[in-house]
């Protein structure tokens, strides 16, 4: 336990330092934002170490400081947490439904041709950048068919297009992994032993193969969630979705030092915690226990 806390403290120290340094360099030209109004004041260069200490103080005692528009950073990000959670949940459920359940369903019917077609489709999805998937979905479902809204967050319908865009690549990865692992298990020695003992195909599939895959898949899903909760910048920017990813992208564009630094710390910490949970869960599955994790 002490080891884990110490590791996290070191990690947070380096993360916050990198976040502050990158944000400071980015915000150096902040004065140019207001140059057109004739109100040009260049940001005074401050000592990096002093600036870092001020940043840490603001992070823990002043709600992360203020954004360029004068709002407190931590409440600003907290407002965007609910939409991000909603989008991540939808994307993950979509991915689990089509990725894992889809692979299980096709494998249970043992339709090799269908599995091959869907594998090729999954590889095609993985070869397509995420913003292209988003643009194509917008063109079809908003522009041509006018079935779904193009962006925002005022009803559950607004989750569909960005959720499918985010979830599609995860679904493709989960599908390829699940179908490959099922095939590997089907050709393994212990399944051969079960078959020779007279167990039915259905029994072997549902009672022997699938329970073996479930822990691995749960770790994979946890790791994917880490990526989603850290902020889906491109998708949220494309669909005008008011999540943490959009706040991140906005902070880079507007050279908002406090917002950018705190956002980087948030992304890093969320990813770290979920990765540690995944690692801990993986060790439990392998039977190595908490000692191995420490």
């Amino acid at each position: 336990m002490k080891n884990s806390i110490f590791r996290f403290l070191i990690f947070f120290l380096i993360l916050s330092w990198i976040a502050f340094s990158l944000s400071s360099y980015r915000a150096q030209d902040q004065g140019y934002i207001f140059a057109e109004t004739g109100n040009f004041e260049s940001v005074p260069k401050q000592n990096l170490i002093l600036g870092y200490l001020i940043f840490i103080k603001q992070l823990f005692w002043d709600w992360g400081g203020t954004t360029i528009s004068g709002e407190l950073v931590v409440p600003f990000l907290a407002e965007r947490l609910i939409p991000t959670l909603a989008l991540s949940t939808f994307a993950l459920l979509f991915a689990i439904l089509f990725g894992i359940f889809g692979a299980v369903l096709l494998a249970s019917y043992q339709s090799n041709f269908s599995i091959l077609i869907f594998r090729r489709f999954a590889e095609l999805i993985l070869a397509t950048p995420i913003f292209i998937i988003g643009v194509m979905l917008l063109l079809v479902f908003f522009y041509q068919l006018e079935w779904l809204p193009p962006g925002g967050f005022s009803s559950p319908l607004h989750l569909i297009l960005p959720g499918i865009t985010l979830g599609s690549r995860i679904a493709a990865r989960l599908f390829l992994f699940t179908s490959k692992e099922i095939e590997k298990e089907r050709n393994s020695e212990y399944v051969f032993v079960l078959e020779s003992r007279g167990m039915s195909e259905k029994f072997i599939f549902w009672r022997a193969i699938l329970p073996k895959l479930q822990p691995l898949l749960s770790v994979m899903v946890l790791l994917e969630l880490a990526g989603l909760l850290s902020g889906a910048m491109v998708v949220e920017e494309l669909f005008f979705y008011p999540g943490i990813g959009k706040a991140l992208y906005y902070s880079i564009r507007s050279m908002d030092l406090n917002l950018l630094a705190v956002s980087i710390c948030y992304s890093g910490c969320v990813f770290y915690f979920l990765m540690e949970m995944g690692r801990y869960w993986n060790n439990r599955i392998l039977g190595e226990g908490i000692e191995a994790h420490n």
Partner: protein, 251 residues
């Protein structure tokens, strides 16, 4: 599967040859030929600025491949160099930095680096290196540890082999094969990142190769009903290039 990939790669080479042979520059704006359909003068038609679609597609693919190869090479070189430093304390410090870089979305690091460094080819390559160095570094470190724990390595050490001998005849061959694998499997990711950067408006046209495929998508998405090829061609180009470079599973 291999036959399909080979066909796609040959198709890409033919497309590039066709692009270069038509001698239509991708940056030539011809307002008298706006939104032309497929024809003899412009094989795939023109966009809303009169630019030849074939030239935009061909040079877009060429620029994506030409930029991704040195970017990936430099990323792997830096990671290999860092992984080869023999000091244990240095590697421990680097491992903390690597875990921080891995916890921050790579796109975020790349965008911040681009915002700091400004536009241009070198900025894009530096941004790609910064966002991508950690994973190859970890892979190289794991390989170095794996080789140094191997029986043949320990035997060489016990028989009095010098550090140079061990490095030259054990570590380098392992790194070489790993580097080839990392290089080939990393190219699709770099091409995707370049397409995304150009979609987000990061320009790096320094060799007259015209707008990137992502930029073409961004430019054409609002006029899909007037000229669908302007959008569909760069999309198909990106997907085909990435697919042709990806290492598929053996079925």
């Amino acid at each position: 599967m291999k036959a399909l990939k080979l066909t796609i790669r040959l198709g890409l080479v033919f497309l590039l040859f066709l692009t270069l042979s038509t001698q239509n520059p991708p940056t030539l704006v011809d307002l008298d030929s706006v939104n032309n359909p497929i024809g003899s003068k412009h094989i795939l038609g023109t966009d809303r600025l009169g630019r030849d679609h074939l030239a935009l597609l061909g040079f877009g693919i060429l620029s994506a491949v030409l930029f991704s190869i040195p970017a990936r090479f430099l990323t792997l070189s830096l990671s290999l160099l860092l992984a080869s430093v023999p000091y244990h304390f240095f590697q421990k410090i680097l491992s903390v930095f690597a875990s921080v870089f891995l916890s921050i979305p790579s796109l975020l690091i790349a965008l911040i680096a681009l915002a700091i460094l400004g536009e241009g080819m070198s900025s894009v390559i530096i941004a790609l290196i910064l966002s991508d160095w950690a994973v190859p570094w970890e892979t190289y470190r794991t390989k170095v540890q794996e080789v140094s724990m191997a029986p043949f390595f320990k035997q060489s050490l016990m028989m009095g082999a010098s550090p140079y001998f061990l490095f030259r005849f054990h570590i380098i061959p392992a790194m070489w094969s790993l580097s080839r694998f990392l290089f080939v499997t990393g190219i699709p990711g770099v091409i995707m990142s370049l397409a995304l950067f150009s979609y987000l408006g990061v320009s790096f046209d320094s060799m007259g190769l015209g707008p990137g495929l992502g930029e073409q998508i961004s430019f054409s998405k609002d006029t899909f009903s007037e000229n669908s090829l302007s959008l569909l061609l760069p999309i198909a180009g990106i997907i085909v290039v990435i697919y042709s470079f990806s290492e598929g599973r053996k079925d």
